[in-house]
Symmetry: C2
Subunit: 254 residues, 2 copies
DNA sequence: AACTGTGAAGATCTTCACAGCA
DNA sequence: TGCTGTGAAGATCTTCACAGTT
């Protein structure tokens, strides 16, 4: 399956469902916004609306973390921010390397959501010697030759692959050999990794194809169905699913 | 929920489960690769390995499309490519507009996976007047003022938002007003859209946070658990989940 | 009265395991 | 014999609905 390996019986480490883990960042984002507006407390209803989920789901999700709310009142914003951050492991520093500094790699390097969430771009790496030394987002690009050394020196455990598909597996192998155990893959390839290594993939092409599928259905329904059951608005999150038994491949631009 | 609207009772338009739809692009990619190597047929086992899923799941997925395989033999590659393409609506032309031509927008514009899958970048749009006329990926950037006109003139029904979070909702509203009914959102915001409009979101920050969660667990387990149940390799697809009742928010860089 | 926390029901998705066809 | 197609079991996720707490 997946990348050619076995998967854990259930990713639900310590009982938190994978689907819940995938939503914690959403709650965190909404809570952070409230925190910046100095809102002291929120009800599950309000927070759910801000995060784009329904309140029952949110309460159930939080129940896996513990009883952090107050009946009749709601949740303390600051406290929840802390609890969720801790749960996600964001209270510690996560040095990250980005490999492949094309437009996408540059976009990622410039992404502000990093630092604020405990992530730190330890290095930008590209195979093109001409890129070496060139600063992107204020960080000088380093050559692929330095990969292993950089990983070790910085204690990097998370790597981002933004290279063309052809180079992805090779880069992946080197990241893993160097000690990286979590990979975010933007290349349109199914990566093969050994046990113990997590891979998440993001693929623009796939997202568009899924949209096209539904778009096509809409066009069809117009002619058919009178009006009884019309398609309703839908918002899907490209992060949720990724099942606990991992079995889905990766993808995307470069 | 989601963007503040209701969702269809079940996105399973015409009976195809949402989870299956999310995997069709993966199969298509694997099949295309086989096709290019002139491989005539594949077994569910082989194709599943190439796509990174297990074979039972793949066979079940295909069973929703119809009986396209031959017992004792496998699936005809070309035939399957056609059937899946048709099912996804990729046999038709999908003009797409990309709004927000920063690094990410440029990366998307340059993404080759577009054209080969029926998608055509009809226009690149940016709010910065200085960008107007500047060619990106061979296509001249146009100013936001032209948005509605472009959508109408090209019959665009799919829009990609790659703007900063602050501009996303406004851009979204204009896209919808112009007639777009499917949106791929890269901005870290929960978009509010009327019924009938689909939104999918991709958020780098969220993906990293999910990785961090598991990474943290790994570190913990090392000290604990002897070796009985060690975490195994996992590959998650950031596209799968997006449930049929849509309820997940969006996110990402700009 | 307001709102959380959660058992239980329902829906969806995955995996098994084997009948059935080439 | 080999491999697909699928009913049925199992696992996970979502939603309901209300008891419990402030």
């Amino acid at each position: 399956m997946a990348t050619g390996r076995t998967h854990r019986p259930a990713t639900r480490s310590r009982g938190i469902p994978e689907a819940t883990v995938a939503r914690l960042p959403l709650y965190l984002r909404a809570l952070t916004a409230l925190s910046e507006r100095s809102v002291p407390t929120v009800s599950s209803e309000e927070l759910a609306a801000a995060a784009g989920v329904n309140s029952a789901k949110l309460r159930k999700d939080f129940s896996y973390l513990g009883s952090y709310g107050t009946r009749g009142v709601g949740y303390d914003v600051e406290y929840l921010v802390y609890q969720i951050s801790r749960e996600l492991g964001l209270t510690q520093d996560w040095p990250v390397v980005i490999v492949g500094i094309g437009n996408l790699g540059a976009a990622l390097a410039n992404y502000g959501g990093f630092a604020s969430r405990g992530f730190r771009v330890a290095a930008l790496i590209d195979a093109d010697p001409a890129m070496a030394g060139k600063p992107v987002a204020g960080i000088p690009v380093q050559h692929t030759d330095e990969l292993e050394k950089i990983i070790e020196d910085n204690g990097v455990s998370i790597g981002v692959i933004a290279t063309p598909a052809g180079a992805a597996q090779q880069v992946c192998d080197r990241l893993v050999a160097g000690g990286v155990t979590s990979i975010l893959n933007f290349a349109p390839t199914v990566l093969s990794v050994p046990d113990g290594v997590d891979v998440r993939k993001v693929d623009l092409s796939i997202e568009l194809q899924i949209l096209a599928f539904h778009e096509q259905r809409k066009a069809g329904e117009e002619t058919a169905a009178g009006d009884g059951a019309r398609p309703a608005a839908t918002t899907r999150d490209a992060s949720a699913d990724q099942g606990p038994d991992g079995d889905v491949p990766a993808v995307m631009p470069a």
